[in-house]
Amino acid sequence: MKLIVAYVKPFKLDEIKDALREVGVTGMSVGEIRGFGRQSGQTEVYRGAEYKVEFVPKTRIEVAVGDDDVERVVAAIETAARTGDIGDGKIIVLPIEEILRIRTGERGAEAI
């Protein structure tokens, strides 16, 4: 089992969610982060003073999937999240050693 972590543009969340649902993903967890990367941040101006805010608002998505689904899920996110512009973000795959559904105590693939 793998944990897929994606940093994406916030307004893409809805599309990604729909894409994931289409490839059979039934759960995910989403948080707000600030990203730093090639995409340069925003200048903000307050009373004439300029602030170069290097962090850009991004959305962080976590999806736990079975080993067989990894490629399909990664591809779904990749397609849905892409705009082609700098700052589209990254997808990372981490190994999961165990997973458990709290409600039922199920473990492993069934717990996803």
């Binding site: 307004f11 809805d14 600030r34 925003q42 200048t43 903000e44 101006v45 307050y46």
Partner: protein
């Protein structure tokens, strides 16, 4: 004027001015957080723009010597000769000229260029508002002279703003994602705060329109309070029955709908009629806000549903509930035996709608030609605060 009346009109003017920041918050809470500052800014800046326009030329176009019932002459350009009581009347009326275009801003939220807004508001405050104000408020304006009555601005303020909003929405098109995406209010507490300020300020708006601290002012004050309350009840009961839940935004929206609807008749109807007007307005405006989904125009914050519909309801119902017993300046309405007045009110509603729709649509096209109306697609996605103002509404992480 007596000192008591001066005191009351100074306070009323301050109260009506306070409504525009209140409106800014009311609207600001309803947009997504990435657009909150743009919403506030469009309202605050409208204060600045209209103050200048009104001072220099708007006031005289509205209240200068009449030309054919259509517009005022240039006698008061740059406030020449406007002093004492006249100056007080000028500034009280200025506050109405400010909030009217500000009301429009809710319809075009989250996508209209700031420069386009500035230009549109300037032109609209220069041309449309003074003309309609002349018709409805000036003694020789054709509507007023013909016998139409508009106590505090059902025609001049709410129908005028509401139909202009519709015209502008047509010229502008819907937000990206309209009807597909979730576009929730980002801070209803802000909206409720705005509602509180609007309600408070509306006492100046309506009771101040008596232009004296007298029995008419008292009467207008009371009908205002009643209509707002009953309309909030009406809206909430309607949605409670339809959707199964009473909502905070429903209560706030209902209150505003009631305030709108009582505006044209505040000093002309009895407290019991105010109950009827409030109830009808709360119910009809609740129905009206769903029209935009049916017809597909994106009136983002329901300026049409609340101000246009509420203004029509109030102006027409004034033709029903007006009582000369309450105020000798108005003939009796349908319910009290006068059908003539009712007919005139209906005509006035249609006339203002037709004129302002066309004029506003033309202005929108002109503005489009000069500055363009909409922000770029990526600006809309990123939010207007950052893309147009380089500011962020909230920073909780530092």
């Amino acid at each position: 004027m007596s000192e008591g009346t001066i005191a009351w009109l100074l306070v009323s003017s301050a109260l009506v001015l306070f409504m525009t920041p209140g409106l800014a918050l009311f609207y600001g809470g309803m947009v997504r957080s990435k657009n909150v500052l743009n919403m506030l800014m469009k309202n605050f800046f409208t204060i600045s723009i209209v103050t200048v326009v009104w001072t220099v030329i708007g006031y005289t176009l509205a209240f200068g010597t009449d030309f054919g019932g259509l517009i005022g002459g240039l006698d008061f350009v740059a406030l020449r000769g406007v002093e004492g009581d006249g100056l007080l009347f000028m500034v009280f009326q200025m506050m109405f000229a400010i909030i009217t275009p500000a009301l429009i801003s809710g319809a075009v939220a989250e996508r209209m260029k700031f420069s386009a807004w500035v230009l549109f508001t300037t032109l609209w405050a220069l041309i449309v508002y003074p003309m309609v104000a002349h018709w409805g408020f000036a003694a020789e304006g054709w509507l007023f002279a013909w016998g139409v009555r508009d106590f505090a601005g059902g025609l001049v303020v709410h129908i005028n703003a509401g139909i202009a909003a519709l015209a502008l929405v047509f010229a502008l098109g819907p937000r990206r994602g309209f009807r597909a995406e979730v576009m929730r209010p980002h801070s209803l507490p802000l909206t409720l705060l705005g509602t509180g300020i609007l309600w408070f300020g509306w006492f100046g708006f309506n009771a101040g329109s008596a232009l004296a601290a007298d029995g008419i002012a008292i009467s207008a004050f009371v009908t205002t309070q009643i209509a707002a309350s009953v309309a909030a009840l009406g809206w909430v009961v309607a949605e409670w029955m339809k959707n199964g839940k009473p909502t905070t935004l429903g209560a706030a929206s209902g209150a505003v709908a009631g305030l709108v609807a009582i505006t044209p008749g505040a000093g002309f109807v009895s407290p019991m009629s105010a109950i009827a007007i409030g109830a009808i307005a709360g119910f009809l405006c609740f129905l009206a806000v769903s029209l935009k989904f049916r017809f597909g125009y994106d009136d983002s914050l329901d300026v049409v549903g609340v101000h246009l519909v509420g203004g029509i309801v109030g102006s027409v119902l004034l033709g029903v509930f007006a009582e000369s017993r309450i105020n000798t300046a108005v003939p009796d309405g349908l319910l009290f035996g006068g059908s003539d007045f009712f007919f005139k009110q209906v005509v006035a509603v249609l006339a203002v709608m037709a004129f302002t729709f066309i004029a506003s649509y033309l202005l929108a096209r002109i503005v489009k030609a000069i500055t363009g109306l909409r922000v770029e697609e990526n600006q809309e996605t990123e939010g207007l605060d950052i893309s147009l103002h380089e500011e962020r509404g909230y920073v909780f992480s530092e």
